[in-house]
Amino acid sequence: MTSWLDPFAGLVLSRRGVLLGAAASAALLPWAAVAQDTTAKPQPDTAEADRIAAEFAGGTAPVASGIGLDLPVLGDNPAAVPLRAKVTEPLSEAVWCEEMIVIAELNPQPLACRFSFTPDIGSAEIGIRLRLIQTMPVRVMARMSDGRILMARQDITVTAGGCGM
């Protein structure tokens, strides 16, 4: 993946290295002169994501339901990918969501963020914007106050828009 569209490198039209002679010899600016560099590397596989998920689940087997996950199938702006997640069962003072994590499985650091909720909030619904380094699965996990672990997972294909986007 070229660094110009890598959200961990940023997209900046930089004047670095731009010194052109007469119009006759001027040419299009090569990509290398406008990209910023990064040392961020994607995870080679989901091992680290699985480790984070296992630590969160603490030995309880996750159930692949109970979370409504809204994530585009195609992310053409990897610097800001909208994600919504919501625990869909009714919540009460007896059973509420304690904690929720979002794992962008192949990102350099897969744990994208962590939420803690209190019983006072009365809901467990969030919307955030991720930056994703490449195509990958995204996993959301929630721990309920009765110990259950809920899980949702979806693939997202990350594309460049083309024409410098």
């Binding site: 910023q36 990102n107 650091q109 994208a112 939420f115 803690s116 909030i121 809901s123 969030i126 914007r129």
Partner: protein
């Protein structure tokens, strides 16, 4: 973090008892991951917003701990059930210890 005040939107500042209120927030922050290199090839130091808290008066509702996978100028949307009138108090903290606060009054209809 910049001195630009955070953006806040609430779906209803005078909700009914038990109504789910939706809140959208955004704070200006570079969210520098510590992975990027500048023009001279040096690592740009990590500078991250690391913690967000939402309280109604003193009661904590939600804590958010973003990492580098969160986009620049962190956006957060959440909901809460309106159970009492009070001041919705929002706090952002970055890893330099800088704090930004904002408030919105919630009045049960």
């Amino acid at each position: 973090m910049t001195t630009t005040p955070p953006r806040i939107w609430m779906s209803n500042e005078t909700p009914q008892q038990g109504e789910i209120v939706r809140v959208r927030t955004q704070v200006a922050h570079v969210m520098e991951s510590g992975f990027r290199l500048d023009a001279a090839g040096q690592i740009m130091p990590r500078q991250m917003m690391t913690r967000f808290e939402a309280r109604l008066d003193d009661a904590l509702l939600l804590t958010w701990l973003p990492e580098i996978g969160i986009a620049q100028n962190p956006y957060l949307e959440f909901t809460f059930k309106a159970q009492a009138s009070g001041l919705l108090r929002l706090l952002w903290v970055d890893d330099s210890g800088t704090e930004i606060r904002a408030e919105r009054q919630v009045t049960l209809a």
